[in-house]
């Protein structure tokens, strides 16, 4: 399956990916409107790690043996049969956050703005290329299929 990969060599921590992610998951999908009107209720679905000049953006790895799917008590976190991607259903989620506890990458985040739920990268289901990848000006994020990565 196609996944988002980062290349820390070219990540400059501009955080444009984070902005694009917020906008892509906003109601209006318009950057200025999203920030000016919806901002407090928006949570990015990726995290940016930074230490000195080293930085990278990381989001859900859609692991093959996803611990979050195992840990989920309601079945909100599940694997899509066709795509193989791990998806999260806000309606089913009860906010127990066991997925957050079990995620080895720490890329499932809390969303407490409305109902307490978990939130994570959905690979921007409806679009050709995830918003963060599209926004990265330096190709430090790439959306591609890596053969053999599924086995791990």
């Amino acid at each position: 399956m196609k996944k988002i990969y980062f290349n820390e060599e070219y990540c400059m921590a501009c955080r444009l990916c984070e902005i694009a992610c917020l906008v892509a998951h906003s109601k209006s999908k318009k950057i200025i409107k999203a920030y000016k009107e919806e901002f407090p209720s928006l949570t990015p679905r990726l995290i940016i790690e930074q230490k000195g000049p080293l930085s990278f953006a990381i989001q859900c790895r859609h692991c093959k043996d996803a611990p979050c799917v195992e840990a989920c008590v309601t079945g909100a976190m599940k694997r899509g049969k066709k795509t193989g991607a791990v998806s999260h259903d806000r309606e089913k989620c009860v906010g127990c956050w066991m997925c957050i506890m079990s995620c080895p990458f720490g890329v499932i985040l809390m969303d407490t703005k409305e109902k307490k739920v978990a939130t994570k990268c959905d690979l921007c289901e409806d679009v050709r290329e995830p918003a963060c990848v599209d926004a990265c000006p330096n190709e430090a994020l790439v959306y591609k299929e890596v053969k053999g990565s599924e086995k791990k």
Binding site: E9, Y10, C11, M12, A13, C14, R15, L16, I19, A20, I31, I32, Y35, K36, G52, P53, A135, P137, N138, E139, A140
Partner: protein, 540 residues
């Protein structure tokens, strides 16, 4: 484009220096005004993170981004990266009383110098308002009496060979007869008897100028090397040595031997396709380079073969070259060291006596003469030198080409012209004036993202090009940059073919020195004489 400066803080001028100089009140106004559209700004802080000059800052209490105009250098990084297009940078409008002689620029330079007591430093080629002769040369096209050629339908030849060409060539012709099925057949074989001097084969008559590791980042060098490899052309290491990692691009590399001899050893000479002795640079003729110790990182120290943190000083002259005979000695030492297998180039700045100098260089044994004109770029040069020394490349090309022809030695060396080539039309005109190929430096940097803010000497290039700062170097992804360079070379090559086709010429060889196809427009009689072209309106 050798790096850096003469004695940084004490003598050079930057805002920081002025602060350090302990002036109570600076008389300088900012150069630029940064305008932020409050309706568009979303306080995402991308601009804050992208500005290496710290012009933008975020005030948490006010939840507002502030901009210090005095720090802005107009590199336009923030304006380019801003996701909402909220930022515009414009010239600072302060009505300094208009005066044709004492312009705002002159006044600002006086204030800077009176506040720091230093040499004014700058980067890139001169921005002074000199007449650009390229824009006064017009090209011919075929009409009625001679057919033009459609480059999309017919083959066009841009391949160029750089190096000495023999005075004459000898063939051995062997014909032999043999019996075919029904009749006698005759074949003729031609065998070249003359041994050809080594040549550089270019797929298009463009090369990337010398830019040293130190002046530019490793990622920039990687991009240049990859692009040169893909386009079948050459890039030049400048005088900063060649990082081991780039040895694999050796067949597309011209290595420089400059007055500091940085990074020169037998491997360096062996791996390259050609060696260039750098005597001068268009942006700073008569001046050596100075890479401040702070920029000499571990990697650069290894490549340049000098201790970490020490200043890399290139002497103004080569201390072993004080005459054409001395130059000849160095040329032949290098040729001996490389087994006479590589063409040897000598790069000089275009100065008043360039024709005689070029003649001397050819007679000294160089296979290529590279001439860098008045508008040549640099990583750092004193402003006064950059803006006032040298002659325009247009005049230098024709002066050198004419002189070498008169002396009957034009075939003994190729001419590479450098210094401010902006587009493919400039290239075509340079070749028609007599150059074999051109070096492009600034155009290549612009293709990679440079916005000509001329702050290369600060080492804070926001585009990740002229910097060694690990935070900034990452901003240039060599894959993207190489792609952009390849596109540029491809585009120019297409355009050159298109222009040549219009002139009814199908090989760049037939364009070279073809001054009959050029006309001067709005040029002085003396300029026409030196360019050896006719004024527009005059027939063949």
């Amino acid at each position: 484009m050798e790096s850096s400066a003469s004695v940084l803080c004490k003598s050079s001028v930057s805002v920081q220096c002025i602060r350090k100089a302990n002036m109570k009140k600076s008389l300088l106004f900012p150069d630029f005004t940064v305008t932020r559209d409050p309706d568009k700004c979303i306080q995402c802080e991308v601009c804050v993170r992208q500005c290496a000059f710290d012009a933008h800052s975020f005030d948490k209490e006010a939840n507002k981004i502030e901009t210090d105009n005095s720090k802005c250098v107009s590199c336009l990084r923030c304006a380019t990266m801003c996701p909402t297009g909220a930022i515009t940078v414009s010239e600072h409008q302060q009505n300094i009383k208009k005066n044709k002689n004492w312009t705002e620029k002159q006044l600002k330079e006086l204030y800077k110098q009176s506040e720091t007591g230093g040499i004014l430093l700058t980067g890139m080629g001169t921005d002074k308002d000199y007449k650009i002769i390229w824009d006064h040369i017009l090209l011919d096209a075929a009409q009625v009496t001679n057919p033009s050629i459609d480059p999309l339908r017919e083959p066009m030849e841009l391949r160029t060979y750089l190096g000495a060409k023999p005075d004459r060539i000898e063939f051995r012709v062997q014909s032999s007869e043999f019996r075919g099925q029904n009749k006698k057949l005759r074949t003729t074989n031609y065998e070249l008897q003359t041994k050809l001097p080594p040549q550089l084969k270019l797929e298009t008559p463009i090369l990337f100028s010398a830019m040293s590791y130190g002046a530019i980042s490793l990622n920039t060098m990687r991009a240049l090397a990859r692009a040169a490899d893909e386009c079948g052309i050459f890039y030049n290491t400048g005088e900063g040595g060649l990082p081991k990692e780039l040895y694999k691009y050796g067949k597309n590399t011209i290595v420089q031997v400059a007055s500091g001899r940085f990074g020169v050893d037998s491997d360096y000479l062996d791996v390259a396709a050609a060696v260039e002795i750098k005597v001068g640079q268009g942006a700073k003729p008569g001046i050596g380079g100075h890479l401040p110790g702070e920029k000499v990182t571990e990697e650069i120290s290894q490549t340049r073969m000098i201790p970490t943190g020490t200043d890399a000083l290139s002497p103004a002259p080569h201390h072993d070259i004080y005459s054409i005979e001395d130059l000849s000695q160095l040329i032949y030492s290098i040729k001996e060291a490389t087994g006479y297998k590589k063409p040897l180039s000598v790069k000089v700045a275009a100065v008043h006596n360039i024709a005689a100098i070029a003649s001397g260089i050819v007679r000294a044994g160089a296979d290529i003469v590279a001439i860098d004109g008045l508008r040549g770029g640099t990583g750092a040069a004193p402003t006064r030198i950059r803006d006032n020394v040298g002659i325009p490349i247009e005049l230098a090309i024709s002066a050198v080409d004419s002189r070498l022809r008169e002396e009957g030695i034009r075939n003994r060396a190729s001419i590479i012209a450098a210094g401010g080539f902006r587009n493919s039309a400039d290239v075509v005109k340079a070749i028609a004036l007599g150059a074999d190929a051109v070096y492009i430096g600034t155009a290549a940097l612009v293709a990679m993202g440079c916005h000509l803010c001329q702050k290369c000497y600060t080492g804070k290039c926001n585009w990740g090009i002229a910097t060694q700062d690990p935070y900034l170097v990452k901003r240039l992804n060599p894959e993207i940059a190489a792609r952009r360079l390849v596109n540029l070379i491809k585009a120019w090559s297409h355009e050159i073919k298109e222009i040549m086709g219009g002139m009814g010429i199908n090989a760049v060889e037939s364009l070279r020195g073809n001054r009959l196809r050029l006309r001067g427009f709005d040029l002085h009689e003396n300029e026409l004489k030196i360019l050896d072209i006719k004024p527009a309106g005059e027939s063949m």
